[in-house]
Protein backbone atom coordinates (compact mmCIF):
# COMPACT_ATOMS: atom_id res chain seq x y z
CA UNK A 1 0.00 0.00 0.00
CA UNK A 2 1.12 3.49 -0.83
CA UNK A 3 2.46 5.53 2.08
CA UNK A 4 3.28 9.23 2.18
CA UNK A 5 5.45 10.83 4.82
CA UNK A 6 5.65 14.42 5.91
CA UNK A 7 7.64 16.04 8.69
CA UNK A 8 6.17 18.89 10.71
CA UNK A 9 8.52 21.07 12.75
CA UNK A 10 6.01 22.59 15.17
CA UNK A 11 2.67 21.88 16.78
CA UNK A 12 1.17 24.71 14.71
CA UNK A 13 2.41 23.06 11.50
CA UNK A 14 0.80 19.76 12.52
CA UNK A 15 -2.48 21.55 13.21
CA UNK A 16 -2.34 23.39 9.88
CA UNK A 17 -1.83 20.16 7.97
CA UNK A 18 -4.90 18.68 9.67
CA UNK A 19 -6.84 21.88 8.95
CA UNK A 20 -6.03 21.52 5.25
CA UNK A 21 -7.04 17.86 5.33
CA UNK A 22 -10.43 18.84 6.79
CA UNK A 23 -11.21 20.84 3.65
CA UNK A 24 -10.91 17.71 1.51
CA UNK A 25 -13.14 15.40 3.54
CA UNK A 26 -16.74 14.39 2.91
CA UNK A 27 -19.48 13.00 5.20
CA UNK A 28 -18.81 9.43 6.34
CA UNK A 29 -15.02 9.68 6.07
CA UNK A 30 -13.05 7.78 8.70
CA UNK A 31 -9.53 8.70 9.80
CA UNK A 32 -7.52 6.51 12.14
CA UNK A 33 -4.80 7.99 14.31
CA UNK A 34 -1.98 5.97 15.79
CA UNK A 35 0.97 7.17 17.82
CA UNK A 36 2.42 7.00 21.32
CA UNK A 37 1.06 8.97 24.24
CA UNK A 38 1.95 12.61 23.70
CA UNK A 39 2.64 12.14 19.98
CA UNK A 40 -0.07 14.67 19.15
CA UNK A 41 -3.19 12.71 18.20
CA UNK A 42 -5.49 15.15 20.00
CA UNK A 43 -3.46 18.09 18.61
CA UNK A 44 -4.02 16.76 15.08
CA UNK A 45 -7.74 16.42 15.81
CA UNK A 46 -7.88 20.01 17.11
CA UNK A 47 -6.53 21.15 13.71
CA UNK A 48 -9.08 19.04 11.89
CA UNK A 49 -11.87 20.53 14.04
CA UNK A 50 -10.64 24.04 13.19
CA UNK A 51 -10.83 23.16 9.52
CA UNK A 52 -14.41 21.97 10.00
CA UNK A 53 -15.36 25.29 11.58
CA UNK A 54 -15.88 23.85 15.06
CA UNK A 55 -15.76 26.59 17.69
CA UNK A 56 -15.85 24.53 20.88
CA UNK A 57 -12.69 23.39 22.63
CA UNK A 58 -11.79 19.91 21.43
CA UNK A 59 -10.57 18.06 24.49
CA UNK A 60 -9.43 14.49 24.89
CA UNK A 61 -12.15 11.81 24.56
CA UNK A 62 -10.22 9.10 26.43
CA UNK A 63 -12.69 8.79 29.26
CA UNK A 64 -15.97 9.09 27.41
CA UNK A 65 -14.65 7.15 24.36
CA UNK A 66 -16.53 9.44 21.95
CA UNK A 67 -17.03 13.19 21.86
CA UNK A 68 -19.26 14.79 19.26
CA UNK A 69 -18.91 18.31 17.88
CA UNK A 70 -21.09 20.34 15.57
CA UNK A 71 -19.42 22.14 12.67
CA UNK A 72 -19.81 22.51 8.92
CA UNK A 73 -19.68 18.73 9.17
CA UNK A 74 -20.15 16.99 12.53
CA UNK A 75 -16.98 15.55 14.04
CA UNK A 76 -17.00 12.31 16.02
CA UNK A 77 -13.76 12.12 18.00
CA UNK A 78 -13.08 8.66 19.44
CA UNK A 79 -10.38 7.25 21.65
CA UNK A 80 -10.90 3.50 21.82
CA UNK A 81 -7.94 2.78 24.10
CA UNK A 82 -10.28 1.72 26.89
CA UNK A 83 -11.91 -0.87 24.61
CA UNK A 84 -8.71 -2.94 24.33
CA UNK A 85 -9.63 -6.63 24.38
CA UNK A 86 -13.27 -5.93 25.23
CA UNK A 87 -14.83 -6.63 21.82
CA UNK A 88 -17.36 -3.93 22.69
CA UNK A 89 -19.34 -2.44 19.83
CA UNK A 90 -20.52 0.98 20.92
CA UNK A 91 -22.46 1.44 17.69
CA UNK A 92 -19.48 2.06 15.41
CA UNK A 93 -21.49 1.57 12.21
CA UNK A 94 -23.73 4.49 13.06
CA UNK A 95 -20.72 6.77 13.38
CA UNK A 96 -18.80 5.40 10.39
CA UNK A 97 -21.86 5.55 8.12
CA UNK A 98 -23.12 8.78 9.63
CA UNK A 99 -23.16 12.30 8.26
CA UNK A 100 -19.93 13.40 9.90
CA UNK A 101 -16.20 12.82 10.01
CA UNK A 102 -14.95 10.19 12.43
CA UNK A 103 -11.47 10.32 13.93
CA UNK A 104 -10.42 7.17 15.80
CA UNK A 105 -7.41 7.31 18.13
CA UNK A 106 -5.76 3.92 18.94
CA UNK A 107 -7.86 2.44 16.11
CA UNK A 108 -6.02 -0.91 16.06
CA UNK A 109 -7.99 -1.89 19.19
CA UNK A 110 -11.17 -2.01 17.07
CA UNK A 111 -9.64 -3.32 13.84
CA UNK A 112 -12.63 -5.61 13.15
CA UNK A 113 -15.11 -2.75 13.17
CA UNK A 114 -13.20 -0.30 10.96
CA UNK A 115 -14.48 0.33 7.44
CA UNK A 116 -12.26 -0.93 4.65
CA UNK A 117 -11.90 2.46 2.98
CA UNK A 118 -10.23 4.90 5.34
CA UNK A 119 -7.23 7.11 5.89
CA UNK A 120 -4.68 5.78 8.35
CA UNK A 121 -2.46 8.41 9.92
CA UNK A 122 0.51 7.54 12.09
CA UNK A 123 2.20 10.23 14.16
CA UNK A 124 5.72 9.56 15.29
CA UNK A 125 7.77 11.52 17.75
CA UNK A 126 10.95 13.00 16.19
CA UNK A 127 12.00 15.47 18.86
CA UNK A 128 10.21 17.73 21.33
CA UNK A 129 8.17 19.63 18.72
CA UNK A 130 8.88 17.82 15.47
CA UNK A 131 6.77 14.89 14.25
CA UNK A 132 6.80 12.42 11.34
CA UNK A 133 3.31 11.96 9.92
CA UNK A 134 2.66 8.92 7.73
CA UNK A 135 -0.49 8.89 5.62
CA UNK A 136 -1.74 5.54 4.37
CA UNK A 137 -4.88 6.00 2.23
CA UNK A 138 -7.08 2.99 1.53
CA UNK A 139 -9.42 3.35 -1.46
CA UNK A 140 -9.56 5.78 -4.37
CA UNK A 141 -11.26 8.58 -2.47
CA UNK A 142 -8.52 8.76 0.18
CA UNK A 143 -5.75 8.27 -2.40
CA UNK A 144 -6.83 11.41 -4.18
CA UNK A 145 -7.21 13.28 -0.89
CA UNK A 146 -3.65 12.48 0.17
CA UNK A 147 -2.29 13.35 -3.28
CA UNK A 148 -4.01 16.72 -3.08
CA UNK A 149 -2.91 17.32 0.52
CA UNK A 150 0.76 16.48 0.07
CA UNK A 151 0.94 17.19 -3.64
Amino acid sequence: MEKHQIITETEIETKRLAENLAQLLKPGDVITLEGDLGAGKTTFTKGLANGLGIKRTVSSPTFTIVKEYEGELPLYHMDVYRLEGSEEDIGFDEYFNGSGITVVEWAHFIEDYLPEERLNVNIEYKDEHSRVLTFEPIGRHFNSIVRELIG
Partner: protein, 341 residues
Protein backbone atom coordinates in the same frame (compact mmCIF):
# COMPACT_ATOMS: atom_id res chain seq x y z
CA UNK B 1 -48.54 27.22 45.24
CA UNK B 2 -50.52 27.00 48.45
CA UNK B 3 -49.25 26.26 51.91
CA UNK B 4 -50.21 22.63 51.56
CA UNK B 5 -47.83 22.07 48.66
CA UNK B 6 -45.05 23.92 50.49
CA UNK B 7 -45.09 21.39 53.31
CA UNK B 8 -45.51 18.31 51.16
CA UNK B 9 -42.43 16.14 50.79
CA UNK B 10 -40.95 15.93 47.27
CA UNK B 11 -39.71 12.59 46.00
CA UNK B 12 -37.76 12.62 42.73
CA UNK B 13 -36.69 9.51 40.87
CA UNK B 14 -33.26 9.91 39.22
CA UNK B 15 -31.82 7.88 36.34
CA UNK B 16 -28.18 8.03 35.18
CA UNK B 17 -26.65 6.04 32.29
CA UNK B 18 -24.22 8.54 30.73
CA UNK B 19 -21.11 6.37 30.85
CA UNK B 20 -20.07 3.29 32.80
CA UNK B 21 -22.80 3.08 35.43
CA UNK B 22 -26.46 2.13 35.25
CA UNK B 23 -27.97 3.90 38.26
CA UNK B 24 -31.39 4.71 39.73
CA UNK B 25 -32.09 6.63 42.93
CA UNK B 26 -34.91 8.25 44.87
CA UNK B 27 -34.19 11.50 46.70
CA UNK B 28 -36.44 13.27 49.22
CA UNK B 29 -36.65 17.07 49.16
CA UNK B 30 -33.49 17.34 47.08
CA UNK B 31 -31.22 16.63 50.01
CA UNK B 32 -31.99 13.23 51.49
CA UNK B 33 -31.18 9.92 49.80
CA UNK B 34 -33.97 7.35 50.08
CA UNK B 35 -32.26 4.80 47.81
CA UNK B 36 -29.21 5.06 45.59
CA UNK B 37 -28.64 1.95 43.46
CA UNK B 38 -25.70 1.56 41.09
CA UNK B 39 -25.70 -1.60 38.95
CA UNK B 40 -22.11 -2.54 39.73
CA UNK B 41 -22.97 -2.57 43.43
CA UNK B 42 -25.91 -4.94 43.18
CA UNK B 43 -25.22 -8.14 45.12
CA UNK B 44 -25.98 -10.52 42.23
CA UNK B 45 -23.32 -8.75 40.13
CA UNK B 46 -20.52 -9.20 42.59
CA UNK B 47 -20.04 -12.82 41.57
CA UNK B 48 -19.04 -11.55 38.12
CA UNK B 49 -16.17 -9.67 39.71
CA UNK B 50 -17.78 -6.31 40.31
CA UNK B 51 -17.27 -3.28 38.15
CA UNK B 52 -17.09 -3.89 34.42
CA UNK B 53 -17.28 -0.70 32.36
CA UNK B 54 -20.82 -0.57 31.00
CA UNK B 55 -19.87 1.42 27.95
CA UNK B 56 -22.07 -0.52 25.58
CA UNK B 57 -25.74 0.43 25.64
CA UNK B 58 -26.50 -3.31 25.61
CA UNK B 59 -25.32 -3.50 29.23
CA UNK B 60 -27.49 -0.59 30.26
CA UNK B 61 -30.51 -2.20 28.60
CA UNK B 62 -29.92 -5.42 30.48
CA UNK B 63 -29.65 -3.64 33.80
CA UNK B 64 -32.00 -0.68 33.83
CA UNK B 65 -35.17 -2.61 34.75
CA UNK B 66 -33.43 -4.57 37.49
CA UNK B 67 -31.86 -1.45 38.97
CA UNK B 68 -35.21 0.34 38.88
CA UNK B 69 -36.97 -2.53 40.65
CA UNK B 70 -34.21 -2.70 43.25
CA UNK B 71 -34.53 1.04 43.93
CA UNK B 72 -38.27 0.78 44.58
CA UNK B 73 -37.90 -2.37 46.65
CA UNK B 74 -35.33 -0.80 48.96
CA UNK B 75 -37.25 2.48 49.23
CA UNK B 76 -40.58 0.97 50.31
CA UNK B 77 -42.15 3.69 48.18
CA UNK B 78 -44.57 3.24 45.29
CA UNK B 79 -45.09 5.18 42.06
CA UNK B 80 -47.83 7.21 43.83
CA UNK B 81 -45.14 8.80 46.01
CA UNK B 82 -42.96 9.93 43.09
CA UNK B 83 -43.40 13.57 41.99
CA UNK B 84 -41.21 13.55 38.88
CA UNK B 85 -38.55 11.63 36.95
CA UNK B 86 -35.14 13.24 36.41
CA UNK B 87 -32.69 11.79 33.90
CA UNK B 88 -29.21 12.61 32.62
CA UNK B 89 -29.69 13.93 29.07
CA UNK B 90 -25.98 14.69 28.46
CA UNK B 91 -23.09 14.94 28.06
CA UNK B 92 -21.89 11.37 27.66
CA UNK B 93 -21.95 8.48 25.25
CA UNK B 94 -25.01 8.73 23.03
CA UNK B 95 -25.82 5.01 23.08
CA UNK B 96 -25.53 4.88 26.85
CA UNK B 97 -27.48 8.11 27.44
CA UNK B 98 -30.31 6.95 25.19
CA UNK B 99 -31.14 4.01 27.44
CA UNK B 100 -31.69 6.24 30.47
CA UNK B 101 -33.54 8.89 28.47
CA UNK B 102 -35.86 6.37 26.82
CA UNK B 103 -36.51 4.54 30.09
CA UNK B 104 -37.38 7.87 31.74
CA UNK B 105 -39.66 8.88 28.85
CA UNK B 106 -41.49 5.55 28.89
CA UNK B 107 -41.98 5.76 32.66
CA UNK B 108 -43.08 9.40 32.54
CA UNK B 109 -45.67 8.51 29.90
CA UNK B 110 -46.90 5.30 31.54
CA UNK B 111 -47.04 6.71 35.07
CA UNK B 112 -48.11 10.23 34.01
CA UNK B 113 -45.21 11.95 35.81
CA UNK B 114 -43.34 15.12 34.86
CA UNK B 115 -40.04 14.52 33.05
CA UNK B 116 -36.90 16.56 33.78
CA UNK B 117 -33.66 16.42 31.77
CA UNK B 118 -30.52 17.02 33.86
CA UNK B 119 -26.96 17.96 32.85
CA UNK B 120 -24.48 15.39 34.18
CA UNK B 121 -22.22 18.06 35.70
CA UNK B 122 -25.16 19.80 37.41
CA UNK B 123 -25.70 16.40 39.00
CA UNK B 124 -22.10 16.19 40.21
CA UNK B 125 -22.47 19.64 41.77
CA UNK B 126 -25.76 18.76 43.48
CA UNK B 127 -24.23 15.58 44.95
CA UNK B 128 -22.85 18.00 47.53
CA UNK B 129 -26.32 19.17 48.56
CA UNK B 130 -26.98 15.62 49.78
CA UNK B 131 -24.36 16.45 52.43
CA UNK B 132 -24.69 20.15 53.09
CA UNK B 133 -27.00 23.06 52.12
CA UNK B 134 -25.60 25.43 49.47
CA UNK B 135 -24.56 29.02 50.18
CA UNK B 136 -24.45 31.38 47.20
CA UNK B 137 -22.47 32.50 45.41
CA UNK B 138 -20.62 29.22 45.34
CA UNK B 139 -17.75 27.85 43.31
CA UNK B 140 -17.63 24.21 42.23
CA UNK B 141 -14.45 22.44 41.15
CA UNK B 142 -15.38 19.39 39.08
CA UNK B 143 -12.51 16.98 38.56
CA UNK B 144 -13.04 13.55 37.04
CA UNK B 145 -11.87 11.23 34.31
CA UNK B 146 -13.81 13.19 31.73
CA UNK B 147 -14.09 16.69 33.24
CA UNK B 148 -12.05 19.49 34.77
CA UNK B 149 -14.20 22.56 35.26
CA UNK B 150 -14.74 25.53 37.55
CA UNK B 151 -18.42 26.45 37.77
CA UNK B 152 -19.79 29.58 39.43
CA UNK B 153 -23.33 29.48 40.81
CA UNK B 154 -25.12 32.61 41.99
CA UNK B 155 -28.38 30.80 42.70
CA UNK B 156 -29.96 27.36 42.43
CA UNK B 157 -30.09 25.95 38.92
CA UNK B 158 -27.87 28.63 37.33
CA UNK B 159 -24.42 27.62 36.16
CA UNK B 160 -21.59 29.65 34.70
CA UNK B 161 -18.56 27.69 33.49
CA UNK B 162 -15.66 30.05 34.27
CA UNK B 163 -12.86 27.57 33.52
CA UNK B 164 -12.43 24.25 31.74
CA UNK B 165 -9.70 22.02 30.37
CA UNK B 166 -8.42 22.76 26.88
CA UNK B 167 -7.07 19.25 26.38
CA UNK B 168 -6.88 16.40 28.89
CA UNK B 169 -9.10 16.24 31.97
CA UNK B 170 -7.16 15.96 35.24
CA UNK B 171 -8.28 12.35 35.70
CA UNK B 172 -7.16 11.52 32.17
CA UNK B 173 -3.71 12.95 32.82
CA UNK B 174 -3.51 10.65 35.85
CA UNK B 175 -4.58 7.64 33.81
CA UNK B 176 -2.11 8.41 31.03
CA UNK B 177 0.85 8.87 33.37
CA UNK B 178 -0.22 5.65 35.07
CA UNK B 179 -0.06 3.96 31.66
CA UNK B 180 3.54 5.20 31.29
CA UNK B 181 4.36 3.69 34.68
CA UNK B 182 2.61 0.42 33.74
CA UNK B 183 -0.01 0.80 36.47
CA UNK B 184 -3.50 -0.69 36.00
CA UNK B 185 -6.54 1.32 34.84
CA UNK B 186 -7.93 3.52 36.31
CA UNK B 187 -4.54 4.83 37.34
CA UNK B 188 -5.51 7.77 39.54
CA UNK B 189 -5.65 5.93 42.87
CA UNK B 190 -2.33 4.15 42.12
CA UNK B 191 -0.54 7.45 41.39
CA UNK B 192 -2.03 8.97 44.54
CA UNK B 193 -0.72 6.04 46.61
CA UNK B 194 2.75 6.11 44.99
CA UNK B 195 2.94 9.89 45.33
CA UNK B 196 2.50 9.61 49.08
CA UNK B 197 5.63 7.39 49.23
CA UNK B 198 7.79 9.50 46.93
CA UNK B 199 9.46 12.89 46.89
CA UNK B 200 9.05 15.81 44.53
CA UNK B 201 12.41 15.50 42.77
CA UNK B 202 11.42 16.63 39.27
CA UNK B 203 10.24 20.14 38.48
CA UNK B 204 7.39 19.42 36.06
CA UNK B 205 5.75 22.40 34.30
CA UNK B 206 2.57 24.06 35.53
CA UNK B 207 0.23 25.40 32.85
CA UNK B 208 -1.07 28.69 34.24
CA UNK B 209 -2.18 29.90 30.77
CA UNK B 210 -3.00 33.59 30.23
CA UNK B 211 -3.16 35.97 33.18
CA UNK B 212 -6.61 35.76 34.76
CA UNK B 213 -7.64 32.59 32.91
CA UNK B 214 -9.31 29.87 34.96
CA UNK B 215 -8.90 27.33 32.15
CA UNK B 216 -6.72 24.26 32.59
CA UNK B 217 -4.29 22.34 30.40
CA UNK B 218 -2.67 19.06 31.36
CA UNK B 219 -1.42 17.90 27.97
CA UNK B 220 1.93 19.72 28.30
CA UNK B 221 2.49 18.15 31.71
CA UNK B 222 1.72 14.72 30.25
CA UNK B 223 4.27 15.30 27.45
CA UNK B 224 6.85 16.53 29.97
CA UNK B 225 6.46 13.37 32.05
CA UNK B 226 6.86 11.26 28.89
CA UNK B 227 9.96 13.22 27.78
CA UNK B 228 11.52 13.01 31.24
CA UNK B 229 11.09 9.23 31.41
CA UNK B 230 12.30 8.85 27.82
CA UNK B 231 15.40 11.05 28.32
CA UNK B 232 16.35 9.35 31.58
CA UNK B 233 16.16 5.97 29.87
CA UNK B 234 18.45 7.16 27.05
CA UNK B 235 21.00 8.41 29.58
CA UNK B 236 20.79 5.14 31.46
CA UNK B 237 19.45 6.86 34.57
CA UNK B 238 16.83 5.26 36.75
CA UNK B 239 13.94 7.39 37.97
CA UNK B 240 11.89 6.07 40.86
CA UNK B 241 8.23 5.64 39.89
CA UNK B 242 7.17 7.02 43.26
CA UNK B 243 9.18 10.22 42.68
CA UNK B 244 7.68 10.64 39.19
CA UNK B 245 4.22 10.16 40.74
CA UNK B 246 4.92 12.64 43.55
CA UNK B 247 6.34 15.25 41.16
CA UNK B 248 3.48 14.83 38.70
CA UNK B 249 0.82 14.98 41.41
CA UNK B 250 2.44 18.07 42.88
CA UNK B 251 2.06 19.89 39.54
CA UNK B 252 -1.59 18.86 39.06
CA UNK B 253 -2.58 19.70 42.64
CA UNK B 254 -0.72 23.01 42.58
CA UNK B 255 -2.56 24.17 39.43
CA UNK B 256 -5.98 22.90 40.51
CA UNK B 257 -5.85 24.38 44.00
CA UNK B 258 -4.20 27.70 43.03
CA UNK B 259 -6.77 28.36 40.29
CA UNK B 260 -9.65 27.35 42.56
CA UNK B 261 -8.44 29.74 45.28
CA UNK B 262 -8.01 32.60 42.78
CA UNK B 263 -11.47 32.03 41.32
CA UNK B 264 -13.01 31.84 44.79
CA UNK B 265 -11.45 35.16 45.83
CA UNK B 266 -12.16 36.80 42.50
CA UNK B 267 -15.88 36.00 42.71
CA UNK B 268 -16.23 36.47 46.47
CA UNK B 269 -17.84 33.09 46.96
CA UNK B 270 -19.34 31.96 50.26
CA UNK B 271 -18.67 28.26 49.67
CA UNK B 272 -16.40 26.03 47.59
CA UNK B 273 -17.49 22.53 46.67
CA UNK B 274 -15.54 19.74 45.01
CA UNK B 275 -17.10 17.05 42.84
CA UNK B 276 -16.11 14.18 40.55
CA UNK B 277 -13.99 11.07 40.98
CA UNK B 278 -10.65 12.87 41.38
CA UNK B 279 -12.08 14.53 44.52
CA UNK B 280 -11.13 11.22 46.16
CA UNK B 281 -7.44 12.00 45.58
CA UNK B 282 -5.76 12.49 48.98
CA UNK B 283 -3.10 14.87 47.70
CA UNK B 284 -5.77 17.15 46.23
CA UNK B 285 -8.05 16.95 49.28
CA UNK B 286 -5.25 17.79 51.72
CA UNK B 287 -4.03 20.75 49.73
CA UNK B 288 -7.54 22.17 49.25
CA UNK B 289 -8.26 21.80 52.97
CA UNK B 290 -4.98 23.59 53.80
CA UNK B 291 -5.50 26.46 51.40
CA UNK B 292 -9.16 27.15 52.25
CA UNK B 293 -8.64 26.83 56.01
CA UNK B 294 -6.46 29.96 55.81
CA UNK B 295 -9.07 31.87 53.80
CA UNK B 296 -12.09 31.29 56.00
CA UNK B 297 -14.13 30.06 53.02
CA UNK B 298 -16.08 26.86 53.83
CA UNK B 299 -14.99 23.89 51.69
CA UNK B 300 -17.25 20.89 51.04
CA UNK B 301 -15.84 17.60 49.75
CA UNK B 302 -18.43 14.82 49.49
CA UNK B 303 -17.78 11.19 50.47
CA UNK B 304 -16.38 8.98 47.70
CA UNK B 305 -19.66 7.19 46.93
CA UNK B 306 -21.15 10.55 45.90
CA UNK B 307 -18.07 11.64 43.91
CA UNK B 308 -18.42 8.88 41.34
CA UNK B 309 -21.37 8.60 38.92
CA UNK B 310 -24.68 7.90 40.65
CA UNK B 311 -28.35 8.74 40.18
CA UNK B 312 -28.97 10.42 43.57
CA UNK B 313 -27.07 13.45 42.29
CA UNK B 314 -29.32 13.55 39.19
CA UNK B 315 -32.43 13.38 41.39
CA UNK B 316 -30.99 16.12 43.64
CA UNK B 317 -30.33 18.46 40.69
CA UNK B 318 -33.70 17.48 39.18
CA UNK B 319 -35.48 18.51 42.40
CA UNK B 320 -34.34 22.10 41.88
CA UNK B 321 -35.57 22.09 38.27
CA UNK B 322 -38.85 20.58 39.48
CA UNK B 323 -39.42 23.42 41.97
CA UNK B 324 -38.37 26.00 39.37
CA UNK B 325 -41.07 24.64 37.06
CA UNK B 326 -38.63 23.36 34.44
CA UNK B 327 -40.04 20.39 32.52
CA UNK B 328 -38.87 18.39 29.51
CA UNK B 329 -41.26 17.14 26.86
CA UNK B 330 -41.59 13.55 25.72
CA UNK B 331 -39.44 14.62 22.77
CA UNK B 332 -36.44 14.84 25.14
CA UNK B 333 -33.37 13.48 23.38
CA UNK B 334 -29.92 12.38 24.51
CA UNK B 335 -27.39 15.12 23.76
CA UNK B 336 -23.80 13.81 23.94
CA UNK B 337 -22.34 17.33 23.85
CA UNK B 338 -24.85 19.17 26.05
CA UNK B 339 -23.58 22.52 27.37
CA UNK B 340 -24.00 23.45 31.05
CA UNK B 341 -25.80 26.76 31.59
Amino acid sequence: MGEFSMTKETYILGIETSCDETAVAIVKNGSEIVTNVVASQIESHKRFGGVVPEIASRHHVEQITMVLEEAFELSKLSWDDIDAIAVTEGPGLVGALLIGVNAAKALAFAKQKPLIGVHHIAGHIYANRLEQEFQFPLLALIVSGGHTELVLMKEHGHYEVIGETRDDAAGEAYDKVARMLHLPYPGGPHIDRLAAEGNVTIDFPRAWLEEGSFDFSFSGLKSSVINTIHNAKQRGEVLEDKDIAASFQSSVVDVLTTKTVKAALNHNVKQVIVAGGVAANKGLRNELVNKFADLDIPLVIPPLKLCTDNAAMIAAAGTISYHQGKRSGLDLNANPSLILK
